[in-house]
């Protein structure tokens, strides 16, 4: 739409239907010659046909509510109308898992805090220690809200957590804790010391060569074997460890790209000023390198956000896992497509917003580079 709008704006306004900018635009972009016209017409027909089919399935013929799990109406309309009654009935389960029903305001607040934290992080003027304080406060209140046990909040054990807060937590903590690991690995990979370089290259290539699923399996079956007798960590934390290890390797490669893009003169100038390695890295190199790689960093975060859905394999009920479980009851069996469509919309909103932000930053950065 934006292309069309831009074209429309750039065209001079003139009277008469045949000369109106819309008609001119359509002539130039939809009907320039006979074969393009034919393609446009065929595609328009297909879009209208499928669009109307989808609309009548999703809206006109859909069943929005049913009384007391009686899904007979839905079954009769199967394939003709969507059974959104599943969502109206189970949306709280899909969003919050088995969290105690009366306490659902707490995970709701947690989701809002996460969104607010993401939003605040895009404000340039806060990109300093203040952002760190905001994040620390945000994560602290998220922990308090989820666990409870203080300030008169009832305690909720971790096994009962589920749904969207789990997805947001795994992705956010995954990236946040993988970030320092990624920086160290990237620096190590560019180091002159052969032993350190070898260890970092080995780690990065090993992790990037295997699928996340194998790491999740490893975390769920092997981590208990790695730890000393008596020390156990729960499923969620194990999945979190696997995601951090995985994200660290990918972040390292992104950050390495930034480090390589810094001109050699910057390194040499820092050396000439007599800065130590850590001062040089911390004050001169990393601030510039990280700024360049913001767009790929956001893309890595989107990837991690999507990949958290794999924890369903080791029996954690994140957003996708809860959606899968929501149709297990016999009454609702056969309506998974509706459940997946619902969570798809949630995943899409988050990922799309982040990818738009990354495109915006990328455009701004390329602008400043051009001068």
């Amino acid at each position: 739409m934006s292309d069309a709008a831009a074209t429309l704006k750039s065209m001079p306004q003139s009277g008469g239907f045949g000369n109106s900018p819309l008609v001119q635009w359509a002539k130039a972009n939809l009907f320039p010659n006979w074969w393009s016209t034919a393609v446009t017409l065929v595609l328009a027909y297909l879009i209208l046909k499928f669009g109307f089919g989808l609309l009548s399935w999703a809206v006109f013929n859909a069943v929005w509510t049913v009384e007391g799990n009686n899904t007979e109406v839905c079954r009769q309309l199967k394939g003709i109308g969507a059974c959104w009654a599943l969502i109206t009935e189970k949306y709280r389960f899909i969003l919050f898992g088995t969290y105690p029903f009366q306490q659902h305001w707490r995970p709701t607040l947690v989701i809002l805090i996460f969104i607010a934290l993401y939003g605040v992080s895009t404000v340039r003027t806060l990109w300093n220690y203040r952002l760190g304080i905001i994040w620390a406060a945000g994560l602290l209140s998220i922990g308090i809200l989820m666990w409870g046990g203080v300030f008169g909040l009832s305690y909720v054990e971790q096994e009962r957590w589920g749904g969207l807060p789990i997805t947001l937590m795994l992705a956010t903590f995954g990236i946040a804790l993988a970030f320092p690991l990624g920086i160290l690995l990237a620096l190590g990979r560019r180091s002159d010391m052969p032993a350190i370089k070898a260890i970092c290259v080995g780690y990065i290539e090993l992790i990037r060569g295997v699928p996340l699923i194998s790491l999740l399996f490893m975390a769920s079956v092997m981590l208990p074997l790695f730890l000393p007798e008596g020390l156990t960590i729960d499923k969620l934390l194990r999945a979190q460890v696997a995601i951090i290890m995985f994200a660290g390797a990918y972040l390292a490669e992104v950050i390495r790209g930034g480090l390589q893009a810094i001109p050699k003169g910057q390194y040499e100038a820092a050396d000439a000023l007599g800065l130590s390695y850590w001062k040089k890295t911390g004050f001169i190199i990393l601030p510039q390198a990280l700024k360049i790689v913001i767009p790929p960093l956001v893309n890595t975060f989107i990837g991690m956000f999507k990949d958290t859905s794999l924890v369903v394999i080791i029996g954690i009920y994140d957003l996708l896992g809860a959606a899968k479980v929501s149709t297990i009851e016999p009454a609702w069996r056969g309506f998974s497509v509706e459940a997946y469509a619902f969570v798809s919309i949630i995943y899409f909103v988050f990922c799309f917003a982040m990818s738009k932000y990354s495109q915006k930053v990328e455009a701004e950065l390329s602008h400043t580079h051009k001068r």
């Binding site: 393609v39 032993a195 260890i199 090993l206 699923i213 079956v221 394999i313 995943y347």
Partner: protein
């Protein structure tokens, strides 16, 4: 992991010869500390594991591979029965992974290229449809898409008796997708051999042709010769064999289909999901590759009098491919790794078979080691091939 030894980095009182101010000495010290730290962590984990395994009476080692597997695998491209060994079961899994990864790579490349070029189309509707496709597919987790396609097939397609029949001989039902395949015939093998000969012949002729062009400047119609060899040889073999046209059609007998080729719901869902998801990423790569070739190149080529086809082949494609190939290889690696999501919908790939095996035998470490070894081998081979190809087409500077 590299962070362990930082505590020791401040130089201590200057020694006479081996000063910590000497960068060389310092570097050795750091490396010794880091390697020592990593070794310590590994030793700690290994000793814990040994103690735990002893306490739980788990025997380590790969001896279990020769034992009878005892579980059935729904899809296998080599003979397999539950009486076969775990090793054979794992081989079946690896072959299933490779099959779906290979088909996924081929189909995603085709679909992705079409969509990537479509995004650059002058026709606004085509460009818009393609960009909406890319945005939607890229921003949904693959796991959701796989579940979605699988639910579409097994929950929303009709049973075999009411199977959808969009094309003659093609049936879509909750039991999977049925297609007609050529009836088995000894001639098929000969046609395959003819095809191979044609490919080998084309490689040989193109070497000869480029050598001749380099020596004499004479051109050889390589495209036509290659097409004639690759298509012509199998066609001649087929005609010589009496041109059999029998196809094995799927037919509804009783409650299910007989004959023809079939894609199980699991395989179909996995393949559709992998291809449609990865195609979105490939489309972006292709688009950026084409955009990376500046307009001046095309104009310069036509100023030199090159025909459009030659411009594309000699000027635009070589430069676009240089941008396209490296990210494309990482997408191929991603397809291979993402095929492990098969375990979500029950397609028997290496991960789900190794997982079954490790649940049955309790050999967790070995099972996961096998999964990782398989993927590392495949990933490193694809990466090595990619790097070799990339080096071949890379820009040779002075």
């Amino acid at each position: 992991m590299a962070s362990i030894p930082r505590s020791a980095r401040r130089p201590s009182p200057p020694a006479v010869k081996l000063s910590l101010n000497d960068p060389f000495v310092r570097s050795i010290l750091y490396q010794v500390l880091v390697v020592g730290g990593v070794a310590l962590i590994v030793w700690y984990l290994v000793s814990n594991t040994m103690a735990n395994m002893e306490a739980r009476k788990i025997a380590s080692g790969f001896g279990f591979l020769n034992r009878e597997a005892g579980f059935a695998i729904s899809e296998h491209s080599i003979d397999y029965s539950p009486a076969d060994s775990y090793f054979r079961a794992l081989v079946v899994g690896v072959l299933n992974t490779l099959l779906v990864a290979f088909l996924g790579i081929v189909l995603a490349t085709i679909l992705g290229t079409v969509i990537g070029i479509g995004r650059l189309a002058k026709n606004w509707l085509i460009a818009k449809i393609c960009s909406v496709y890319v945005e939607v597919m890229r921003n949904l987790p693959l796991a959701v898409q796989l579940f979605f396609w699988y639910a579409m097939i097994i929950e929303n397609l009709p049973g075999p008796r009411q199977a959808l029949n969009p094309l003659p001989g093609v049936f879509l039902s909750a039991r999977g997708i049925m297609i007609p395949v050529p009836a088995s015939d000894p001639l098929n093998m000969w046609i395959l051999i003819a095809l191979l000969m044609g490919i080998l012949g084309t490689i040989g002729v193109s070497r000869w042709a480029s050598a001749r062009q380099a020596a004499t400047g004479q051109q050889f119609p390589m495209m036509r010769a290659g097409a004639a060899l690759i298509l012509g040889l199998p066609l001649i073999t087929w005609l010589l064999g009496g041109a059999p046209t029998t196809l094995d059609w799927p037919e509804l007998r009783g409650f299910n289909f007989q004959g023809g080729g079939s894609l199980s719901p699991e395989f179909a869902a996995l393949l559709i999901g992998l291809v449609t998801y990865t195609a979105a990423f490939i489309a972006e790569i292709v688009r950026s590759g084409i955009l990376a070739v500046s307009h001046g190149q095309t104009e310069a080529a036509s100023a030199l009098g090159l025909r459009r086809s030659l411009t594309l082949r000699l000027v635009v494609l070589p430069q676009a491919l240089r941008v396209i190939i490296p990210p494309m290889i990482s997408q191929y690696l991603n397809i291979t790794k993402n095929s492990s999501l098969a375990v979500l919908i029950g397609y028997p790939d290496i991960v789900s078979i190794a997982n079954t095996a490790l649940n049955q035998t309790g050999q967790a470490i070995e099972g996961i080691a096998i999964i990782m070894m398989v993927y590392l081998t495949v990933s490193l081979s694809i990466a090595a091939f990619g790097n070799w190809y990339n080096k071949r087409i890379a820009l040779v500077e002075r």
